[in-house]
Symmetry: C2
Subunit: 239 residues, 2 copies
DNA sequence: TCATTATATGAATGACGTTCATTATTGTCA
DNA sequence: TGACAATAATGAACGTCATTCATATAATGA
Protein backbone atom coordinates (compact mmCIF):
# COMPACT_ATOMS: atom_id res chain seq x y z
CA UNK A 1 0.00 0.00 0.00
CA UNK A 2 2.67 2.47 1.08
CA UNK A 3 0.66 5.24 2.62
CA UNK A 4 1.92 8.75 2.21
CA UNK A 5 1.76 10.29 5.63
CA UNK A 6 -0.04 13.61 5.77
CA UNK A 7 2.33 16.55 5.53
CA UNK A 8 5.03 14.52 3.88
CA UNK A 9 6.48 17.61 2.27
CA UNK A 10 6.41 19.97 5.23
CA UNK A 11 8.91 20.33 8.02
CA UNK A 12 10.70 17.04 7.63
CA UNK A 13 14.13 17.57 6.18
CA UNK A 14 14.80 13.84 6.29
CA UNK A 15 12.97 13.61 2.99
CA UNK A 16 13.92 10.41 1.23
CA UNK A 17 16.75 9.62 3.63
CA UNK A 18 17.15 5.96 4.50
CA UNK A 19 15.82 6.53 7.98
CA UNK A 20 16.10 8.78 10.97
CA UNK A 21 19.70 8.40 11.95
CA UNK A 22 21.70 11.01 13.84
CA UNK A 23 24.60 12.49 11.92
CA UNK A 24 27.13 12.08 14.73
CA UNK A 25 28.09 8.49 15.29
CA UNK A 26 26.19 7.25 18.32
CA UNK A 27 25.29 10.29 20.37
CA UNK A 28 23.96 9.09 23.67
CA UNK A 29 22.05 11.35 26.00
CA UNK A 30 20.40 14.76 26.12
CA UNK A 31 18.55 16.79 23.56
CA UNK A 32 19.99 16.18 20.12
CA UNK A 33 20.85 19.01 17.73
CA UNK A 34 18.08 17.98 15.42
CA UNK A 35 15.16 15.95 16.80
CA UNK A 36 15.02 12.37 15.65
CA UNK A 37 11.36 11.82 16.42
CA UNK A 38 8.17 13.46 15.29
CA UNK A 39 4.58 12.39 14.74
CA UNK A 40 5.34 12.13 11.05
CA UNK A 41 8.38 9.88 11.49
CA UNK A 42 6.64 7.68 14.04
CA UNK A 43 3.59 7.30 11.84
CA UNK A 44 5.55 6.52 8.72
CA UNK A 45 7.60 3.79 10.39
CA UNK A 46 4.52 2.44 12.15
CA UNK A 47 2.73 1.88 8.86
CA UNK A 48 5.78 0.34 7.30
CA UNK A 49 6.20 -2.02 10.23
CA UNK A 50 2.58 -3.15 10.30
CA UNK A 51 2.39 -3.53 6.53
CA UNK A 52 5.62 -5.48 6.20
CA UNK A 53 5.72 -7.60 9.32
CA UNK A 54 2.16 -7.68 10.55
CA UNK A 55 0.48 -6.36 13.63
CA UNK A 56 1.90 -8.85 16.12
CA UNK A 57 5.36 -7.59 15.22
CA UNK A 58 4.35 -4.04 15.97
CA UNK A 59 5.71 -3.45 19.47
CA UNK A 60 7.09 -0.23 20.85
CA UNK A 61 10.46 -1.97 21.09
CA UNK A 62 10.38 -2.77 17.39
CA UNK A 63 9.20 0.71 16.55
CA UNK A 64 11.94 2.30 18.62
CA UNK A 65 14.58 0.08 17.11
CA UNK A 66 13.50 0.95 13.59
CA UNK A 67 13.75 4.61 14.54
CA UNK A 68 17.17 4.17 16.19
CA UNK A 69 15.83 5.48 19.43
CA UNK A 70 15.03 4.22 22.91
CA UNK A 71 11.54 3.07 23.75
CA UNK A 72 11.02 5.73 26.37
CA UNK A 73 11.87 8.44 23.85
CA UNK A 74 8.62 7.64 22.10
CA UNK A 75 6.74 8.88 25.12
CA UNK A 76 8.03 12.39 24.58
CA UNK A 77 5.85 12.50 21.48
CA UNK A 78 3.02 10.02 21.87
CA UNK A 79 1.01 9.55 25.02
CA UNK A 80 0.53 5.84 24.44
CA UNK A 81 0.71 3.05 21.92
CA UNK A 82 -2.98 3.64 21.31
CA UNK A 83 -2.20 7.14 20.19
CA UNK A 84 0.38 5.90 17.72
CA UNK A 85 -2.29 3.64 16.25
CA UNK A 86 -4.66 6.58 16.03
CA UNK A 87 -2.12 8.49 14.00
CA UNK A 88 -1.74 5.51 11.72
CA UNK A 89 -5.50 5.32 11.33
CA UNK A 90 -5.72 8.94 10.33
CA UNK A 91 -2.88 8.60 7.84
CA UNK A 92 -4.59 5.65 6.23
CA UNK A 93 -7.93 7.41 6.04
CA UNK A 94 -6.24 10.34 4.38
CA UNK A 95 -5.30 8.06 1.48
CA UNK A 96 -8.86 7.00 0.79
CA UNK A 97 -10.00 8.57 -2.44
CA UNK A 98 -13.07 10.80 -2.13
CA UNK A 99 -12.47 12.50 -5.46
CA UNK A 100 -15.33 10.75 -7.29
CA UNK A 101 -17.89 12.50 -5.08
CA UNK A 102 -17.10 15.69 -6.92
CA UNK A 103 -17.95 14.34 -10.34
CA UNK A 104 -19.92 11.09 -10.24
CA UNK A 105 -23.52 10.41 -9.14
CA UNK A 106 -23.73 9.56 -5.46
CA UNK A 107 -24.18 5.83 -5.93
CA UNK A 108 -21.21 5.40 -8.24
CA UNK A 109 -19.08 7.62 -6.05
CA UNK A 110 -20.08 5.62 -2.98
CA UNK A 111 -19.09 2.40 -4.73
CA UNK A 112 -15.76 3.82 -5.76
CA UNK A 113 -15.16 5.12 -2.25
CA UNK A 114 -15.99 1.74 -0.73
CA UNK A 115 -13.45 0.03 -2.98
CA UNK A 116 -10.75 2.52 -2.13
CA UNK A 117 -11.63 2.15 1.55
CA UNK A 118 -11.36 -1.62 1.49
CA UNK A 119 -8.05 -1.53 -0.35
CA UNK A 120 -6.62 0.88 2.19
CA UNK A 121 -7.42 -1.45 5.06
CA UNK A 122 -6.74 -4.81 3.51
CA UNK A 123 -3.06 -4.42 4.38
CA UNK A 124 -3.65 -3.49 7.98
CA UNK A 125 -6.58 -5.65 9.03
CA UNK A 126 -5.48 -5.82 12.66
CA UNK A 127 -6.19 -2.13 12.93
CA UNK A 128 -9.81 -2.57 11.95
CA UNK A 129 -11.19 -3.49 15.35
CA UNK A 130 -9.19 -0.65 16.89
CA UNK A 131 -10.30 1.81 14.25
CA UNK A 132 -13.89 0.91 13.89
CA UNK A 133 -14.43 1.95 17.45
CA UNK A 134 -12.33 5.06 17.85
CA UNK A 135 -13.62 8.62 17.99
CA UNK A 136 -13.15 10.61 14.86
CA UNK A 137 -13.00 13.93 16.65
CA UNK A 138 -9.28 14.42 16.83
CA UNK A 139 -8.49 12.73 13.54
CA UNK A 140 -8.54 15.44 10.90
CA UNK A 141 -8.02 13.13 7.94
CA UNK A 142 -10.94 10.91 8.88
CA UNK A 143 -13.13 13.89 9.57
CA UNK A 144 -12.49 15.41 6.16
CA UNK A 145 -13.44 12.12 4.55
CA UNK A 146 -16.78 11.92 6.35
CA UNK A 147 -17.55 15.51 5.54
CA UNK A 148 -17.07 14.93 1.83
CA UNK A 149 -19.05 11.71 1.70
CA UNK A 150 -22.01 12.87 3.76
CA UNK A 151 -22.16 16.21 1.93
CA UNK A 152 -22.46 14.38 -1.39
CA UNK A 153 -25.36 12.27 -0.11
CA UNK A 154 -27.17 15.25 1.37
CA UNK A 155 -26.64 17.12 -1.88
CA UNK A 156 -28.30 14.22 -3.67
CA UNK A 157 -31.37 14.53 -1.49
CA UNK A 158 -30.70 12.22 1.43
CA UNK A 159 -31.68 13.39 4.88
CA UNK A 160 -28.72 13.94 7.17
CA UNK A 161 -29.68 11.11 9.47
CA UNK A 162 -30.14 8.57 6.72
CA UNK A 163 -26.97 9.69 5.01
CA UNK A 164 -24.96 8.94 8.14
CA UNK A 165 -26.68 5.59 8.50
CA UNK A 166 -25.92 4.72 4.90
CA UNK A 167 -22.28 5.67 5.37
CA UNK A 168 -22.05 3.61 8.54
CA UNK A 169 -23.67 0.66 6.78
CA UNK A 170 -21.28 0.79 3.86
CA UNK A 171 -18.39 1.25 6.25
CA UNK A 172 -19.46 -1.78 8.24
CA UNK A 173 -19.52 -3.84 5.08
CA UNK A 174 -16.11 -2.51 4.12
CA UNK A 175 -14.57 -3.34 7.49
CA UNK A 176 -16.02 -6.82 7.45
CA UNK A 177 -14.83 -7.41 3.91
CA UNK A 178 -11.35 -6.13 4.70
CA UNK A 179 -11.21 -8.65 7.53
CA UNK A 180 -12.26 -11.32 5.07
CA UNK A 181 -9.32 -10.60 2.81
CA UNK A 182 -7.06 -11.59 5.70
CA UNK A 183 -8.63 -15.01 5.98
CA UNK A 184 -6.49 -17.93 4.84
CA UNK A 185 -7.47 -19.43 1.48
CA UNK A 186 -8.34 -22.72 3.15
CA UNK A 187 -10.76 -21.17 5.62
CA UNK A 188 -13.64 -23.13 4.09
CA UNK A 189 -11.77 -26.33 3.33
CA UNK A 190 -13.99 -28.93 4.82
CA UNK A 191 -14.73 -32.61 4.39
CA UNK A 192 -17.72 -33.67 2.32
CA UNK A 193 -18.91 -35.94 5.10
CA UNK A 194 -19.25 -33.19 7.66
CA UNK A 195 -21.13 -30.73 5.43
CA UNK A 196 -21.84 -32.08 1.94
CA UNK A 197 -23.84 -29.20 0.47
CA UNK A 198 -21.48 -26.61 1.84
CA UNK A 199 -18.41 -28.50 0.61
CA UNK A 200 -19.88 -28.76 -2.87
CA UNK A 201 -20.78 -25.08 -2.90
CA UNK A 202 -17.25 -24.13 -1.88
CA UNK A 203 -15.87 -26.30 -4.70
CA UNK A 204 -18.24 -24.65 -7.17
CA UNK A 205 -17.14 -21.25 -5.91
CA UNK A 206 -13.52 -22.09 -6.65
CA UNK A 207 -14.42 -23.31 -10.11
CA UNK A 208 -16.19 -20.05 -10.92
CA UNK A 209 -14.15 -17.43 -9.13
CA UNK A 210 -10.72 -18.93 -8.55
CA UNK A 211 -8.84 -19.25 -5.27
CA UNK A 212 -7.54 -17.01 -2.53
CA UNK A 213 -7.91 -13.28 -2.97
CA UNK A 214 -10.14 -13.73 -6.01
CA UNK A 215 -12.90 -15.30 -3.94
CA UNK A 216 -12.83 -12.52 -1.38
CA UNK A 217 -13.06 -10.03 -4.23
CA UNK A 218 -16.04 -11.85 -5.72
CA UNK A 219 -17.89 -11.77 -2.41
CA UNK A 220 -17.08 -8.10 -1.97
CA UNK A 221 -18.29 -7.24 -5.48
CA UNK A 222 -21.51 -9.14 -5.01
CA UNK A 223 -22.20 -7.54 -1.64
CA UNK A 224 -21.32 -4.03 -2.75
CA UNK A 225 -23.50 -4.29 -5.85
CA UNK A 226 -26.39 -5.58 -3.80
CA UNK A 227 -25.97 -2.97 -1.09
CA UNK A 228 -25.91 -0.12 -3.57
CA UNK A 229 -28.82 -1.51 -5.55
CA UNK A 230 -30.79 -1.53 -2.33
CA UNK A 231 -29.80 2.02 -1.43
CA UNK A 232 -30.67 3.21 -4.94
CA UNK A 233 -34.06 1.56 -4.74
CA UNK A 234 -34.67 3.59 -1.62
CA UNK A 235 -33.60 6.97 -2.93
CA UNK A 236 -33.61 6.90 -6.72
CA UNK A 237 -30.38 6.76 -8.66
CA UNK A 238 -28.18 9.83 -8.42
CA UNK A 239 -27.77 13.02 -10.44
CA UNK B 1 -26.43 -13.06 25.90
CA UNK B 2 -25.75 -16.07 28.12
CA UNK B 3 -24.62 -18.70 25.72
CA UNK B 4 -25.45 -22.28 26.53
CA UNK B 5 -22.27 -24.19 26.02
CA UNK B 6 -22.64 -27.28 23.85
CA UNK B 7 -23.08 -30.45 25.83
CA UNK B 8 -24.36 -28.65 28.87
CA UNK B 9 -26.17 -31.75 30.02
CA UNK B 10 -23.43 -34.34 29.54
CA UNK B 11 -20.65 -35.34 31.88
CA UNK B 12 -20.66 -32.29 34.11
CA UNK B 13 -22.03 -33.15 37.47
CA UNK B 14 -21.63 -29.57 38.63
CA UNK B 15 -24.92 -28.87 36.88
CA UNK B 16 -26.37 -25.64 38.16
CA UNK B 17 -23.89 -25.38 41.03
CA UNK B 18 -22.78 -21.84 41.80
CA UNK B 19 -19.40 -22.54 40.32
CA UNK B 20 -16.66 -25.08 40.24
CA UNK B 21 -15.64 -25.24 43.88
CA UNK B 22 -14.09 -28.29 45.49
CA UNK B 23 -16.20 -29.85 48.22
CA UNK B 24 -13.37 -30.10 50.74
CA UNK B 25 -12.38 -26.73 52.13
CA UNK B 26 -9.24 -25.61 50.35
CA UNK B 27 -7.58 -28.73 49.04
CA UNK B 28 -4.19 -27.70 47.82
CA UNK B 29 -2.17 -29.89 45.55
CA UNK B 30 -2.39 -33.02 43.45
CA UNK B 31 -5.14 -34.63 41.48
CA UNK B 32 -8.50 -33.82 43.01
CA UNK B 33 -11.17 -36.45 43.63
CA UNK B 34 -13.33 -34.86 40.97
CA UNK B 35 -11.73 -32.68 38.28
CA UNK B 36 -12.49 -29.00 38.57
CA UNK B 37 -11.67 -28.12 35.00
CA UNK B 38 -13.01 -29.21 31.63
CA UNK B 39 -13.48 -27.66 28.22
CA UNK B 40 -17.10 -27.07 29.08
CA UNK B 41 -16.38 -25.29 32.37
CA UNK B 42 -13.60 -23.20 30.86
CA UNK B 43 -15.77 -22.17 27.92
CA UNK B 44 -18.74 -21.28 30.07
CA UNK B 45 -16.76 -19.08 32.40
CA UNK B 46 -14.86 -17.53 29.47
CA UNK B 47 -18.07 -16.37 27.86
CA UNK B 48 -19.41 -15.07 31.12
CA UNK B 49 -16.23 -13.14 31.76
CA UNK B 50 -16.06 -11.55 28.32
CA UNK B 51 -19.75 -10.72 28.30
CA UNK B 52 -19.79 -9.19 31.75
CA UNK B 53 -16.45 -7.48 32.03
CA UNK B 54 -15.27 -7.05 28.45
CA UNK B 55 -12.40 -8.50 26.56
CA UNK B 56 -9.61 -6.51 28.20
CA UNK B 57 -10.59 -8.09 31.50
CA UNK B 58 -10.29 -11.55 30.04
CA UNK B 59 -6.88 -12.70 31.21
CA UNK B 60 -5.90 -16.21 32.15
CA UNK B 61 -5.41 -14.95 35.67
CA UNK B 62 -9.00 -13.72 35.80
CA UNK B 63 -10.26 -16.92 34.22
CA UNK B 64 -8.37 -19.07 36.69
CA UNK B 65 -9.58 -17.02 39.63
CA UNK B 66 -13.19 -17.35 38.52
CA UNK B 67 -12.67 -21.10 38.30
CA UNK B 68 -10.95 -21.25 41.70
CA UNK B 69 -7.90 -22.75 40.14
CA UNK B 70 -4.30 -21.78 39.42
CA UNK B 71 -3.36 -20.32 36.06
CA UNK B 72 -1.07 -23.16 35.18
CA UNK B 73 -3.85 -25.66 35.75
CA UNK B 74 -5.58 -24.31 32.66
CA UNK B 75 -2.73 -25.62 30.56
CA UNK B 76 -3.64 -29.19 31.42
CA UNK B 77 -6.77 -28.68 29.33
CA UNK B 78 -6.15 -25.94 26.79
CA UNK B 79 -2.97 -25.57 24.79
CA UNK B 80 -3.13 -21.78 24.78
CA UNK B 81 -5.32 -18.78 25.36
CA UNK B 82 -6.04 -18.83 21.63
CA UNK B 83 -7.56 -22.26 21.99
CA UNK B 84 -9.82 -21.07 24.76
CA UNK B 85 -11.04 -18.33 22.45
CA UNK B 86 -11.66 -20.88 19.70
CA UNK B 87 -13.87 -22.86 22.03
CA UNK B 88 -15.75 -19.70 22.84
CA UNK B 89 -16.19 -18.98 19.15
CA UNK B 90 -17.70 -22.35 18.46
CA UNK B 91 -20.04 -22.08 21.43
CA UNK B 92 -21.25 -18.71 20.23
CA UNK B 93 -21.82 -19.90 16.68
CA UNK B 94 -23.84 -22.78 18.04
CA UNK B 95 -26.32 -20.27 19.48
CA UNK B 96 -27.00 -18.55 16.17
CA UNK B 97 -30.51 -19.39 15.11
CA UNK B 98 -30.76 -21.11 11.73
CA UNK B 99 -34.29 -22.36 12.37
CA UNK B 100 -35.98 -19.90 9.97
CA UNK B 101 -34.27 -21.52 7.00
CA UNK B 102 -36.56 -24.50 7.46
CA UNK B 103 -39.77 -22.51 7.13
CA UNK B 104 -39.28 -19.04 5.66
CA UNK B 105 -38.31 -17.93 2.13
CA UNK B 106 -34.57 -17.63 1.71
CA UNK B 107 -34.45 -13.84 1.90
CA UNK B 108 -36.46 -13.57 5.09
CA UNK B 109 -34.51 -16.41 6.64
CA UNK B 110 -31.24 -14.77 5.66
CA UNK B 111 -32.35 -11.53 7.29
CA UNK B 112 -33.37 -13.31 10.44
CA UNK B 113 -30.09 -15.21 10.50
CA UNK B 114 -28.09 -12.02 10.06
CA UNK B 115 -29.85 -10.42 13.03
CA UNK B 116 -29.27 -13.42 15.22
CA UNK B 117 -25.64 -13.48 14.09
CA UNK B 118 -25.06 -9.85 14.92
CA UNK B 119 -26.71 -10.17 18.31
CA UNK B 120 -24.53 -13.13 19.15
CA UNK B 121 -21.36 -11.15 18.47
CA UNK B 122 -22.34 -7.74 19.71
CA UNK B 123 -21.41 -8.85 23.23
CA UNK B 124 -18.04 -10.22 22.26
CA UNK B 125 -16.76 -7.86 19.60
CA UNK B 126 -13.10 -8.46 20.39
CA UNK B 127 -13.53 -12.01 19.17
CA UNK B 128 -14.57 -10.84 15.73
CA UNK B 129 -11.12 -10.32 14.23
CA UNK B 130 -10.01 -13.62 15.68
CA UNK B 131 -13.06 -15.39 14.39
CA UNK B 132 -13.43 -13.86 10.99
CA UNK B 133 -10.12 -15.31 10.02
CA UNK B 134 -10.08 -18.75 11.60
CA UNK B 135 -10.62 -22.02 9.76
CA UNK B 136 -14.01 -23.52 10.18
CA UNK B 137 -12.80 -27.09 9.83
CA UNK B 138 -12.50 -28.11 13.45
CA UNK B 139 -15.40 -26.06 14.70
CA UNK B 140 -18.43 -28.31 14.48
CA UNK B 141 -20.93 -25.66 15.55
CA UNK B 142 -19.80 -23.21 12.89
CA UNK B 143 -19.76 -25.86 10.23
CA UNK B 144 -23.33 -26.93 10.90
CA UNK B 145 -24.42 -23.33 10.59
CA UNK B 146 -22.84 -22.88 7.17
CA UNK B 147 -24.30 -26.14 5.94
CA UNK B 148 -27.83 -25.08 6.83
CA UNK B 149 -27.56 -21.59 5.38
CA UNK B 150 -25.92 -22.56 2.10
CA UNK B 151 -28.27 -25.49 1.62
CA UNK B 152 -31.27 -23.17 1.89
CA UNK B 153 -29.88 -20.83 -0.76
CA UNK B 154 -29.03 -23.67 -3.12
CA UNK B 155 -32.50 -25.07 -2.58
CA UNK B 156 -33.90 -21.69 -3.62
CA UNK B 157 -32.02 -21.84 -6.88
CA UNK B 158 -28.72 -20.14 -6.14
CA UNK B 159 -25.60 -21.65 -7.64
CA UNK B 160 -23.23 -23.02 -5.01
CA UNK B 161 -20.57 -20.45 -5.76
CA UNK B 162 -22.87 -17.47 -5.56
CA UNK B 163 -24.54 -18.83 -2.46
CA UNK B 164 -21.19 -18.90 -0.66
CA UNK B 165 -20.39 -15.41 -1.88
CA UNK B 166 -23.74 -14.13 -0.67
CA UNK B 167 -23.19 -15.72 2.73
CA UNK B 168 -19.70 -14.24 2.97
CA UNK B 169 -21.04 -10.83 1.98
CA UNK B 170 -23.78 -10.91 4.59
CA UNK B 171 -21.31 -12.22 7.15
CA UNK B 172 -18.92 -9.37 6.38
CA UNK B 173 -21.68 -6.88 6.91
CA UNK B 174 -22.64 -8.59 10.14
CA UNK B 175 -19.09 -8.56 11.50
CA UNK B 176 -18.64 -4.91 10.60
CA UNK B 177 -21.95 -4.00 12.18
CA UNK B 178 -21.19 -5.93 15.33
CA UNK B 179 -17.97 -3.96 15.63
CA UNK B 180 -19.99 -0.81 15.22
CA UNK B 181 -22.15 -1.64 18.21
CA UNK B 182 -19.00 -1.48 20.32
CA UNK B 183 -18.28 2.08 19.28
CA UNK B 184 -18.74 4.75 21.95
CA UNK B 185 -21.85 6.87 21.53
CA UNK B 186 -19.73 9.97 21.03
CA UNK B 187 -17.73 8.50 18.18
CA UNK B 188 -19.10 11.11 15.77
CA UNK B 189 -19.21 14.04 18.18
CA UNK B 190 -17.50 16.72 16.25
CA UNK B 191 -17.40 20.50 16.12
CA UNK B 192 -19.45 22.34 13.53
CA UNK B 193 -16.44 24.33 12.45
CA UNK B 194 -14.38 21.34 11.45
CA UNK B 195 -17.07 19.58 9.43
CA UNK B 196 -20.34 21.52 9.25
CA UNK B 197 -22.39 19.28 6.99
CA UNK B 198 -21.30 16.15 8.79
CA UNK B 199 -21.98 17.67 12.22
CA UNK B 200 -25.48 18.68 11.15
CA UNK B 201 -26.14 15.24 9.70
CA UNK B 202 -25.06 13.58 12.93
CA UNK B 203 -27.38 15.89 14.88
CA UNK B 204 -30.24 15.03 12.54
CA UNK B 205 -29.47 11.37 12.99
CA UNK B 206 -29.80 11.68 16.76
CA UNK B 207 -33.06 13.55 16.38
CA UNK B 208 -34.52 10.79 14.22
CA UNK B 209 -33.04 7.62 15.67
CA UNK B 210 -31.99 8.44 19.22
CA UNK B 211 -28.59 7.93 20.78
CA UNK B 212 -26.16 5.12 21.48
CA UNK B 213 -27.22 1.61 20.57
CA UNK B 214 -30.30 2.88 18.74
CA UNK B 215 -28.21 4.57 16.06
CA UNK B 216 -26.14 1.45 15.46
CA UNK B 217 -29.38 -0.50 15.12
CA UNK B 218 -30.74 1.99 12.60
CA UNK B 219 -27.64 1.72 10.45
CA UNK B 220 -27.76 -2.05 10.64
CA UNK B 221 -31.43 -2.14 9.66
CA UNK B 222 -30.87 0.17 6.72
CA UNK B 223 -27.88 -1.80 5.48
CA UNK B 224 -29.48 -5.18 5.91
CA UNK B 225 -32.65 -4.10 4.10
CA UNK B 226 -30.60 -2.69 1.25
CA UNK B 227 -28.35 -5.70 1.03
CA UNK B 228 -31.28 -8.11 0.88
CA UNK B 229 -33.18 -5.97 -1.59
CA UNK B 230 -30.14 -6.12 -3.82
CA UNK B 231 -29.77 -9.87 -3.45
CA UNK B 232 -33.48 -10.35 -4.18
CA UNK B 233 -33.22 -8.22 -7.28
CA UNK B 234 -30.56 -10.56 -8.47
CA UNK B 235 -32.33 -13.83 -7.79
CA UNK B 236 -36.04 -13.18 -7.46
CA UNK B 237 -37.75 -13.28 -4.08
CA UNK B 238 -37.86 -16.61 -2.30
CA UNK B 239 -40.36 -19.45 -2.00
C1' DT C 1 0.79 -53.61 45.00
C1' DC C 2 2.77 -50.43 42.37
C1' DA C 3 3.74 -48.00 38.09
C1' DT C 4 1.35 -44.90 35.15
C1' DT C 5 -1.57 -41.26 34.14
C1' DA C 6 -4.36 -37.24 35.04
C1' DT C 7 -4.69 -33.06 37.39
C1' DA C 8 -3.45 -29.73 40.30
C1' DT C 9 0.36 -26.34 42.36
C1' DG C 10 3.81 -22.33 42.79
C1' DA C 11 7.91 -20.38 41.00
C1' DA C 12 10.46 -18.77 37.08
C1' DT C 13 10.79 -16.62 32.45
C1' DG C 14 10.52 -13.34 28.96
C1' DA C 15 7.86 -9.95 26.39
C1' DC C 16 5.36 -6.03 26.65
C1' DG C 17 3.53 -1.12 27.80
C1' DT C 18 4.39 2.47 30.85
C1' DT C 19 6.70 5.61 34.39
C1' DC C 20 10.51 8.00 36.28
C1' DA C 21 14.70 10.33 37.56
C1' DT C 22 18.34 11.99 34.98
C1' DT C 23 21.09 14.39 31.31
C1' DA C 24 22.16 17.30 27.56
C1' DT C 25 20.87 20.74 24.12
C1' DT C 26 18.21 24.69 22.41
C1' DG C 27 15.82 29.05 22.52
C1' DT C 28 14.41 33.07 25.19
C1' DC C 29 14.57 36.83 28.24
C1' DA C 30 16.86 39.82 31.65
C1' DT D 1 26.25 37.28 28.13
C1' DG D 2 24.32 34.41 31.33
C1' DA D 3 20.50 32.14 33.67
C1' DC D 4 16.68 29.23 33.00
C1' DA D 5 12.72 26.93 31.17
C1' DA D 6 11.42 23.81 27.69
C1' DT D 7 12.54 20.01 24.79
C1' DA D 8 14.03 15.51 23.75
C1' DA D 9 16.84 11.94 24.49
C1' DT D 10 18.53 7.92 28.00
C1' DG D 11 18.48 3.49 31.00
C1' DA D 12 16.49 1.44 34.93
C1' DA D 13 12.70 0.25 37.14
C1' DC D 14 7.58 -1.81 37.52
C1' DG D 15 3.41 -4.37 36.91
C1' DT D 16 0.86 -7.37 33.92
C1' DC D 17 0.51 -10.95 30.96
C1' DA D 18 1.01 -15.69 28.65
C1' DT D 19 3.69 -19.60 28.96
C1' DT D 20 6.91 -23.31 30.86
C1' DC D 21 8.72 -26.26 34.34
C1' DA D 22 9.65 -29.16 38.25
C1' DT D 23 6.93 -31.07 41.60
C1' DA D 24 3.10 -33.17 44.28
C1' DT D 25 -0.85 -36.05 44.82
C1' DA D 26 -5.07 -38.72 43.76
C1' DA D 27 -7.11 -42.13 40.65
C1' DT D 28 -6.63 -46.02 37.48
C1' DG D 29 -5.34 -50.33 35.95
C1' DA D 30 -2.12 -54.20 35.29
Amino acid sequence: MDVDVAGASTATATATADDARPAGTGRRRGRPSTPVLSQEAITRVTLRLITRRGYEAFTLAALAKELHVSVSALYNHAASKQQVLLWAQDAINATIDTGPFATLPWDEALASWARSYRDAYADVTPLIPVMAVLPVSDAPGSLAMYETVVAALVEAGWSGGEAVNAVVAVESFVFGSALDTAAPAEIFDVSEDAAPVFAAAVADRHRRYGRGAATADAAFDLGLDALLAGLRARHGSGA
